[in-house]
């Protein structure tokens, strides 16, 4: 079953969603990208996309934030892979991410280098 892996981007900022999608394309990753605009929508979509979707969550969102969404998704599907990402790294947030069950926690730079790298390593593992 050689389906392309699915990547779900959950971020309330349209610019971030678009730019990350571009960065993924530019890196040549063979994946199918979907997006969601909020934690709630993201959790629903993750449920539809499982198993084996890689989920990229923004930590800071109105309504359900990234940590909460991560917890919910992990509860729903133990085998899901979740990356939490943020504009500003913070050690306290990193600990929160771990506690929420995230597989990775990384910074959103202009080139999205870290996020794309995290997605890559989750695909190959």
């Amino acid at each position: 079953m050689r389906n392309r892996p699915k990547v779900l981007i959950i971020d309330d900022s349209e610019a971030d969603r678009i730019l990350l999608h571009e960065a993924i394309k530019k890196a040549g990753l063979e994946v199918e990208v979907q997006t969601a605009r909020s934690g709630e929508e993201g959790v629903k979509k993750a449920n539809e996309l499982r198993p084996e979707a890689i989920i990229v969550l923004d930590t800071l969102m109105p309504g359900m934030n990234g940590f909460e969404a991560c917890k919910k998704i992990k509860e729903m599907d133990q085998d899901s892979k979740v990356i939490l990402c943020t504009g500003v790294v913070d050690a306290v947030d990193a600990a929160k991410a771990r506690a929420a069950g995230a597989d990775d926690y990384c910074v959103k730079t202009d080139d999205y280098e870290a996020v794309v790298g995290a997605i890559k390593s989750l695909i190959t593992s």
Partner: protein
Amino acid sequence: MARNRCKILIIEDDPGFRELLTGILNQMDENFEVRCGGSYREAREAIQKELPDLILLDIYLPDKDGFYFLEEFRKNGHEDIPVVLVSASGNEKDKLRGLELGAMDFINKPIAIEDIRARVAFQLRLKKITDDQKWACQKTNEGIKLLYKELEKKNKKLEQLDQLKDEFVSMVSHELRTPLTAIKSSLSVVYGDTEGRLSADQKRFLEISRKNIDRLARLINDVLDYEKLKSKPVGFKMAENDLNALIGETVRDFEPIAANKNLRLETEFEADLPKFALDRDKIMQVLTNFLNNAVKFSEKGKIRIKTARWDGDTVRVSVEDEGVGIEEENLPKLFQTFSQITNQGFRKPGGTGLGLAISKSIVEGHRGRIGAESVYGKGSTFYFILPLRVGK
């Protein structure tokens, strides 16, 4: 492949006891992965294959004892893997030795099941906390490194832009000043050629041209001056100067201009003011700016220029006029760029609106303070305070 499989290694030479422990652990949690070894050698092989999350270690082993293994284990850098010693001896010395060598806990045989359970759960919980924190640290560090890299890139770009801007300013300077020079000189030649033979009208309009060239030249200076001050805080030629003399000279130059509007210039200088470090040209520029404004916005009365010691080791220079004054709400905006206060009933003042902003840059470049006080309708006082720094 669930991530929360805990790997536990049991090193115990008694096979019956090994089985007992294995049973207890498997019953505790189906996610435990339990491995066993019966000797020092088997223990070493096991950890070479894969590092566990917890080791239950018997002290008395057939080849080398548990202490030997433990010491070696710790020496090889595995500080973070909890080791719980198990022993039949129950003796205090063994316990202490174990703890000294880096064991986390000590269990006596015969064991109570609840005991094992509680202590194993405790050690694993502790290890998870440490692991989680290490993970958070590592991820944060990685993020910070990337942010630094990005910051460096952005700084480089800014430096490039700054450089481009400098080049642009130079070019503009040349392009604007060259035609002005040609026009000014041409007017001078015409005037020189026709001296005495010009009608009143011709003289008048030549004069207007001259005045406006000068005005343009000042405007260019203002704008370029401001750009320079903004991008290069260096460039102050500090030297010891006599402030009173400097101000006196500037005021004298202003006398004809003031006389034209029937305004009196009065000076009041602090006696015995020592020479101190300042940029002569720039301070004169500030004072000229103040005097210009005072003359521009006054129709009558006198303009008082004062120097006075202020607050110990600073000196305050003030220019006080009896002009139109400034409304309270406009005072904070005065020293911002491009702010020009238009007064009801009076002509809109000319200029770029940069003069006071430039003065502010200059005074702050001297580590001083600039300010203004005013009563609308009565007059204004513009002042700056400079530190009396001796030497460079």
